[in-house]
């Protein structure tokens, strides 16, 4: 198991190198001159050339990439040429917001999806099952920005139950920084009022973000359980006279979870990507909205840093998913 993890971590290095190289090359090919953006209004061509030289944009791409790798190896993401803020500082500010949102959305999608999927499978071909199937398709088809606005109109404007935007009410100080996750940090500091506020602010964006994933996991769980229930050992147990609930939980569910768990792992990556839209609508100050701004201003260092961070998270999640596979299914663990 230890060797498996180590091997996977070592494998991450070339994968991330490839990812960075690809992003770097693509950024060079995308039209848009960062020097022109930096030089701003009224800039003369000479001034743009001066900036290009100053920030090394005119060096050969190999030199630029090498210089960047050297910086990254020292744990330095560099300074944004646009804002002159250290990119690492911005990432530290933004990443926890995205992680908190994504993890809660993932939780809703996983728990909700498995629960709904299981019930749909147990009540196979019942009205509930049909309802779930229709909603699953709808959940995948609905545009998240439309859904978000509908939720805002209903829960924030009409009912006034939940806040409209942001992570906390404007003016309320963030809890002391430990993890950057407000739910955790406010509990650690014993600020239960802040915890309650942070939780309320999370509900709408997290639910919006989770919708597509919830639908996917529900569908996978449902079909996986139905398939398992048709296998011989279930038929045997039913024949012996085991009550249904005692078969489903310990035997069927465990045998059916490999596929949904893989989906959950993949979903994590999709959620981080999907967070771009949700973060913009709910003013969630995460990496998604940071990335969008970076793209609009050709802020290369910021784009590369976000790519790298998301890449690392994605790779790490995949390792964790494999480990969970091992726990659920001992046959997989034997091969590790």
């Amino acid at each position: 198991m230890f060797r498996f993890v180590l091997r996977r971590i070592l494998l991450m290095v070339p994968v991330l190198f490839g990812l960075l190289l690809l992003t770097f090359v693509m950024l060079q090919m995308v039209p848009g001159d960062p020097a022109a953006t930096l030089a701003g209004e009224n800039a003369t061509p000479e001034q743009i050339a001066e900036i290009r030289q100053k920030f090394g944009f005119d060096d050969p791409i190999v030199v630029q990439f090498g210089r960047y790798l050297g910086q990254i190896a020292q744990g330095d993401f560099g300074v944004s040429a646009y804002s002159r803020r250290p990119v690492g500082d911005d990432i530290v500010l933004r990443l926890p917001a995205t992680l908190e949102l994504t993890l809660v959305a993932l939780g809703i999608a996983a728990v909700g999806g498995i629960l709904v999927g299981t019930l749909a499978a147990v009540w196979h071909n019942s009205p509930f099952d049909h309802g779930v199937r229709i909603l699953s398709v709808a959940g995948l088809a609905v545009a998240s920005f439309w859904f978000a606005i509908m939720l805002q109109m209903l829960f924030a404007m009409e009912l006034d139950w939940l806040p409209l935007r942001g992570r906390l009410p404007t003016g309320l100080a963030a809890p002391p920084d430990v993890t950057g996750l407000y739910l955790v940090d406010s509990l650690v500091a014993g600020q239960f009022g802040t915890f309650w506020q942070a939780l309320q602010h999370l509900i709408l964006p997290a639910f919006t973000l989770s919708l597509g994933g919830l639908a996917t996991i529900a569908r996978f769980t449902r079909s996986s359980i139905i398939e398992t229930m048709q296998r011989d050992f279930v038929t045997y147990e039913e024949a012996v006279g085991y009550p249904k609930r005692r078969i489903i939980l310990p035997y069927v569910l465990r045998n059916s979870l490999v596929s949904p768990v893989t989906q959950i792992g993949l979903l994590f990556g999709q959620l981080i990507a999907g967070a771009v839209v949700v973060e913009s609508i709910f003013d969630w100050p995460g990496l998604g909205s940071y990335l969008v701004e970076a793209i609009f201003t050709s802020d290369y260092k910021a784009i590369l840093a976000v790519t790298l961070v998301v890449g690392v998270i994605y790779a790490a999640v995949n390792i964790v998913v494999d480990l969970i596979h091992g726990i659920i299914d001992p046959r997989v663990a034997d091969q590790m």
Binding site: P31, G40, N42, Q47, R84, Q152, R165
Partner: protein, 528 residues
């Protein structure tokens, strides 16, 4: 984090102590949430865009400032100025007893340092000065006098001075790192003397920053009985969220680009209204005057008659815009009052197209117009023009793009697209900001001059205007240049913007100025 918490407490305590007795009696400092966009960094010599104007106006002071609408150029840190007859030497005297937020005195040294810093770093608004001012030619005469010696006569110099924030030299120098002029530090901190000081512990880029009223601001607060004590700047990115947040009372002001279809909705809601102010921001469709068939004047006139101006302004913009016949905003001096705008007239357009064909112009190739995907109006206007082209039997394709790409493409005739849509905003209030930098061929290669328009007579007029110190003479020169540029149909000029900002009714005394779009909080009073 502990230090920033302590700092917040200390700042709050200082603020409470600084508040006038009346305000303390009200037990709580007044505050508003300002939902306008924040810049990516706080350094006013690095970031130069409309959101930066908010930081510039509130946290910093310049030598001069624009106030009101039409914007009046007022001496601000300056007490007065003298200019030599050859318009080369500008001597500016400073007001005495101006202090920075840390209590130190603002002197000529700080002004010299600020200009040197701007020019040496070469970012931000330096482009307005670099062609005429070398860093070494900004010198201190005495503690309250600064002298600027320009390389060549440049009258818009004075109009551009409000762009430059005067920073606290000692404070910035303390934080310099590897010759970076303190840029990394100033990106997240503030070293100004403005009416509001930033609480750096609350700063999260593009997300939040709290500003505290600076009781000792040199201008004083006598003209504002109930100023805002705390401004929490918290941008709301999405239009729908922004409008809902205003109506709910989560924010007290939106940005000043409220979509026209939201105006009625805001006006109908309780406790909020929309401030409407004519600005100086011209929307236009550019044409690459050096690429066939756009190098043909008759064809450009054909295009100018193929756009449905009235339809765009009255139906799409619900009349929240004012038809602008040429490149200079109607409400600025230098814009000729008698200028006849191009009208939407397909018959006339056909005649001009035929004339262009007769002159050998090839109109059969599909033409392209680049739009900025994030800005709906660029798409809407391009689609309207596309409809006009269809009636003429011409093909116009819409190509999505971004601002970063457009500004890069403008570097050469070959890479500049056939057409593209954008606005020219007010950075400084002088025809130079519009016609001067748009149609003088010396600016070819910059996005502002991206029509690649070339007319020797216009070059001559614009250059003469730039060196002339008498404003009435300058106005005549700009008027003449405008008439020629419009007769040449260099571009398609559409409208001058009406800025629309949603405001809470408790915000009183909102004073709009096209420079900074009304983001100058010092004039605002709070009414509960």
């Amino acid at each position: 984090m502990k230090t920033s918490l302590l700092r917040s407490v200390a700042l709050a305590a200082t603020l409470m102590a600084a508040l006038p007795a009346g305000a303390q009696a009200q037990d709580k400092p007044s505050e508003i949430v300002w939902g306008d966009t924040l810049p990516k960094g706080l350094d006013p010599h690095v970031v130069y865009d409309v959101p930066m104007q908010f930081i510039l106006l509130n946290n910093y002071d310049g030598l001069f400032r624009y106030v009101g609408n039409p914007p009046e150029l007022q001496p601000w840190l300056a007490e007065g100025y003298e200019v030599s007859d050859d318009a080369l030497t500008w001597t500016i005297t400073l007001k005495p007893d101006v202090t920075f937020h840390d209590g130190s005195a603002l002197t000529a040294d700080d002004v010299v340092y600020s200009f040197k810093r701007l020019l040496e770093m070469g970012q931000g608004p330096s482009g307005a000065f670099k062609p005429v001012l070398k860093p070494d030619n900004v010198t201190k005469v005495d503690d309250l006098t600064v002298q600027f010696v320009l390389d060549k006569p440049y009258t818009p110099f004075l109009a551009a001075l409000p762009l430059v924030a005067i920073v606290n030299e000692d404070l910035v120098k303390e934080h310099e790192k590897d010759g970076d002029w303190g840029a990394e530090w100033l990106a997240s901190n503030e070293a100004g003397s403005g009416a509001y000081s930033i609480d750096p512990s609350t700063y999260r880029p593009q997300e939040n920053v709290d500003m505290m009223r600076f009781e000792d601001h040199f201008y004083g607060w006598d003209d504002n009985a109930n100023p805002v004590d705390i401004v929490r700047a918290a941008p709301v990115k999405e239009t729908s969220t922004r409008v809902l947040a205003l109506i709910r009372g989560d924010i007290d002001a939106t940005d000043s680009y409220l979509p026209t279809d939201q105006v009625e909705r805001v006006e109908k809601a309780d406790g909020v209204h929309v401030a409407q102010d004519e600005s100086m921001r011209v929307m236009l469709i550019r044409m690459n005057n050096q690429r066939p068939p756009f190098d043909n004047k008759n064809f450009r006139k054909c295009v100018s008659h193929a756009f449905n101006y009235d339809g765009f302004i009255s139906i799409i913009l619900k009349d929240y815009a004012i038809r602008n016949a040429g490149p200079i905003p109607n409400n600025l001096w230098g814009a000729p009052a008698d200028l006849e705008p191009y009208s939407y007239d397909i018959e006339k357009a056909k005649e001009f197209c035929d004339a262009a064909r007769a002159e050998g112009a090839d109109l059969d190739r599909p033409m392209e117009i680049q739009i900025q995907s994030a800005l709906d109006q660029t798409t809407q206007s391009a689609q309207l023009l596309q409809a006009g082209f269809q009636e003429l039997g011409l093909t116009l394709n819409l190509v999505p793009s971004t601002w970063a790409q457009l500004t890069t493409d403008a570097a050469s005739v070959e890479t500049t697209p056939d057409m593209w849509v954008h606005w020219v905003s007010t950075y400084f209030v002088d025809p130079e900001n519009w016609i001067g930098q748009m149609y003088d061929s010396q600016f070819h290669g910059t996005w502002k001059a991206s029509s690649w328009y070339q007319n020797d007579k216009v070059d001559e007029l614009l250059r003469e205007a730039r060196a002339e110190t008498d404003q009435s003479k300058r106005a005549t020169l700009y008027e003449e240049a405008s008439r020629i540029v419009v007769e040449d149909a260099a571009d398609v000029w559409i409208y001058n913007t009406v800025q629309l900002r949603g405001l809470s009714d408790k915000v009183q005394g909102y004073k709009f100025s096209p420079v900074g779009s009304g983001g100058d909080i010092r004039w605002i009073s709070i009414e509960d």
